[in-house]
Amino acid sequence: MFPFLTALILLPAVGALALMVLPRTWRARSRHFALAFAVAEFVLAAVMVSQFDATRAGTHQFAEVYPWIPQIGTSWALGIDGIALLMIVLAVTLTPLAMLAAWKEDADPSRQMRYFALILVLQAFMVGIFAARDVFLFYVLFEAMLVPLYFLIGTFGGARRRQAAVSFLLYGLAGGLIMLVAVIALYFYGGGGPEAFLTANLVGLDIPVVPERLMFIGFFIAFAIKAPMVPLHTWLPDVAEQARPGTTALLVAVLDKVGTFGMLTLAIALFPNAAAWAAPVIIPLAVVSVIYGALAAIGQTHMMRLVAFTSVSHFGIMVLGIFVFTQTAVEGAAFYMFNHGLSTGALFLLVGFLVSRRGSALISDFGGLQKVTPVFAGLFLIVGLSALALPGLSPFVSEIMVLVGGFEVARVAVIVATAGVVLAAVYVLWAYQRVFHGATNPELDGTPDLSLRERLVVAPLIGVMLVLGFVPASAIDLVREPAATVVSYVAERER
């Protein structure tokens, strides 16, 4: 069978290399080349999706296993289940859109080439990390993807981008190195041999209580930094403020999902006893994230920071859904990972369009835009409503699944988290009101409405949210079996 996953990883990597060796005179065209690669990647992924057997969504399909470093016990092992498939679809969809959004950001062709090449590198990592079926390979990609992001944040962005990039790198490395100790320790509890790190070979090990808990904590901290959970979220608002909207959109919408994805497919799968042991602590932390993120979002004056804090809140809902360990809630959390990517990705990109018009992201610099740019206002409202989980848009479906599924198990937590959903209405609608309604800021007169390119960026995301808002079944079918597997790990644990 055609090695779809390896091809999906290599294609953007080759694209990035091709961009770098492009003759200088062609540099002005580099964005076209990059977009062509991203579209080709999308088409290739679409072919793969058409061959994915949705009736066996719980098994890892398109599996590839080749020895990589047998002395260490690691393999180039890839394979995707329903959840990983959704995440890869999200990645290959958002990448070309983020490229379109950054179409006119750079006048200098070399700078433009670097930006688009880095985005392609990032895409290779995004696909690889969701497809990795080997703990060591996952770890390598998990850490190495910090590098392109570090350059994306540090080279392209606001005045304080250097600090944001360094704090991002250090946060990521610190989390990763803690996880590294756990990864090495895991090796000693596994069977050893040239395939020691295959995830399948490490599930269901009999590990003594204390080491299992320590290893779980090691993995969890790394993932909690990625899926920004209070109190490990402090890097995100700075990065969101300083980085380009396209970078932030990819980072929050896709890459931060590695955190929740890792919790589902590694932390719980490898250490179910410890996961159950830690859940009573993690669930309150998740609820704190939900409320704190929402309150902080209400208080922001900078729109990128605002959206960043809404994501802290939304990631709280996902983590809550994962760690109540009921079928409906885990399904909801997995589905939410996808929907949140669409919704927040669109929100970041739209805010980016606002910033490019005004040269500022401060809410106070706006006002009354609706009369000048009606289409912009309408699309912004729809995307904003998706963030507050309005029925009819897909985030609603997943959020309600988490809350309903968790209610029986963690009643108080769910009730408090529901308050966070109410707060979401405040931060979204209040921000919308201040930006688009009221008296028109005289400096905004003559602001152009969304161009065709900009509409093309947002329309697909809204379209998918609408479709899945009304007929979510096809997507939920994809996450049902993987969610059942996760739930069974915890249900069938020995202690």
């Binding site: 047998p70 002395q71 850490e143 540090g154 990039a165 250090l170 100790v181 090495i184 320790a185 320590l214």
Partner: protein, 528 residues
């Protein structure tokens, strides 16, 4: 009685030392500067290639699991020493590319070493275009000594060989063409502290000799095993011997010479010294503590002095990691940042050494290989970044971090290679440094009760990323300041070295299997 010496097995040493002696003769008898320089370079490259070839040849003929004693008990050739000899030769070969580089017709070494800095003699020598090329034979002597250092199994022979490669190094440090006072000061500091460390080693060796009544590692191990009296002699003696070796390794608290020597020495020498000396020191240290003082060699259960060796290694590992990392955070000069980073790396190496496992024997050569390659590469980059005056003439190296601002814009490939080396030092995956760190930590975690040691190592790795990131920030995220007077010189051979180092750093990071099996073969020996 004259010992029966197996000359064939000494081939790598004979080639190197022999070429060094010939080099001295060339220095004396070939008058014409340019001819002499050409001959010296050709001779040095040929000698090191010859040494490398004979190492490979011996590796193939000896097979993996045999050890040959060359003269009874003093030195031995086995896959362990061959592996390290190959590494040292590799570092030397790469360094030559940096040694030979010339900027505006001048190489990096003083034209007349005997002249007083700032004197009229010096000016005259410089104006006449005089050229001394004794660096090449000196380097060959150092390389030969380091190779021999990996083979020694006798505490007194170890002292002799230590001096054999140290003396040329002291001289090399003092030979910088520019900032000569700084260079001579560095050489003097290195020499004085080095002599002191050697003396401490010798005192320790005498105490151990007093305990065992013999000087070979084997005899010490069996004296320990049989529970010979006066154990306090070996406790104290082994600790003092460690001081001497850890000084060469550049581990804290015996590191004080490192920043000054690294900064003052000609950058080409710094790169060579940082990589090759460290490799030789690790190889000898491992042989000493694993063969003479190691628990695995004991038949009679736990022996007291061994614990002290283990614990002092652990303590020095912790101190080195902490001191190196914390001090590096406060530096503003690239050479000093790299110097303190080398101290931290000495700590990481000691973490692996102190585990006394076969995994460590596998991890150490690999770690050292990736560290050494990146070090030679990084210092090669440093040697290219220079000041230039109004006329565009090249001046001294611009190693202050502020001068590096915006380098990535002007020279993306050189700056990109430097970034790669720094990421390798930091242990970021897909660079070779990550695999090295992984192996070292794995060796330490073989005994899970060591988790706290690994935890410290991990915290220090994360903190270390901060100062590596600072350099990257300067190169890529800052604009070149207006009126900048720094530039990157042409240095073709240096660029070749940088390219080779960069390719190796990626290759060993992505496909380390081949190198790992070599290291595995070398590791089997001690634990058969």
């Amino acid at each position: 009685m004259t010992p029966d010496i197996q000359w064939l097995y000494l081939l790598p040493l004979l080639v190197t030392f022999g070429a060094g002696v010939v080099g001295i003769l060339v220095e004396s008898f070939v008058r014409h500067h340019e001819n002499r320089r050409g001959i010296q370079i050709a001779l040095t490259v040929a000698a090191i290639l010859g040494a490398l070839a004979s190492v490979v040849g011996l590796w193939i003929t000896l097979g993996s699991d045999s050890s040959v004693s060359i003269d009874g008990s003093t030195i031995a050739l086995d896959s362990h020493s061959l592996l390290w000899q190959g590494l040292i030769a590799l570092f030397a070969l790469m360094s030559i590319g940096v040694f030979t580089a010339r900027t505006s017709g001048e190489d990096a070494f003083v034209p007349l070493a005997a002249s007083t800095p700032g004197s009229s003699d010096e000016a005259l020598a410089s104006r006449r275009g005089m050229l001394q090329t004794e660096v090449y034979p000196l380097m060959l002597f150092a390389v030969g000594g380091m190779m021999m250092f990996t083979m020694v199994q006798d505490i007194f022979a170890l002292f002799v060989v230590l001096e054999v490669f140290s003396l040329p190094l002291y001289l090399l440090v003092g030979l910088a063409r520019r900032r000569r006072l700084l260079s001579q000061e560095a050489a003097l500091k290195y020499f004085l502290t080095g002599a002191f460390a050697s003396a401490v080693y010798l005192f320790g060796a005498a105490l151990v000799f007093g305990f065992a009544g013999a000087s070979s590692y084997q005899a010490i191990a069996s004296a320990l095993a049989s529970g010979a009296p006066s154990q306090e002699l070996v406790v104290l003696g082994s600790a003092l011997m460690l001081v001497g070796l850890l000084f060469k390794l550049g581990a804290a608290p015996f590191h004080a010479w490192t920043p000054d020597a690294y900064q003052g020495a000609p950058t080409a020498v710094t790169g060579f010294m940082a990589a090759a000396t460290k490799a030789a020191a690790v190889a000898a240290l491992v042989r000493l503590v694993y063969l003479a003082f190691a628990p695995e060699q004991e038949a009679l259960g736990i022996v007291f002095p061994l614990d002290t060796v283990v614990w002092s290694l652990v303590a020095f590992a912790v101190v080195s990691m902490v001191v190196g990392t914390v001090m590096a955070l406060a530096q503003d000069d690239i050479k000093r940042i790299l110097a303190y980073s080398s101290i931290a790396h000495a700590g990481f190496l000691l973490v692996a050494v102190s585990s006394f496992t076969q995994e460590a024997l596998q991890a150490l050569p690999f770690y050292m290989a990736v560290y050494g390659i990146a070090t030679v590469g990084a210092f090669a980059v440093v040697s290219l970044v220079r000041h230039r005056d109004e006329d565009g003439a090249w001046g001294a190296e611009a190693s202050a971090l502020e001068h590096w601002a915006g380098l990535g814009r002007r020279s993306p490939f050189i700056a990109g290679a430097m970034t790669l080396f720094l990421f390798s030092f930091a242990g970021i995956p897909l660079t070779a440094g990550f695999v090295g760190k992984f192996l070292a930590f794995r060796a330490a975690l073989t005994d899970p009760s060591n988790w706290w040691l690994v935890a410290i190592a991990v915290v220090m790795s994360a903190a270390a990323a901060f100062f590596y990131a600072r350099v990257v920030v300067a190169m890529f995220f800052r604009e070149t300041p207006a009126g900048s007077v720094t530039g990157i010189t042409a240095g073709r051979t240096v660029r070749v070295v940088i390219a080779i180092a960069a390719v190796l750093t990626i290759l060993l990071g992505v496909f380390p299997s081949g190198a790992l099996s070599l290291a595995e073969t070398g590791a089997e020996l001690f634990f058969l």
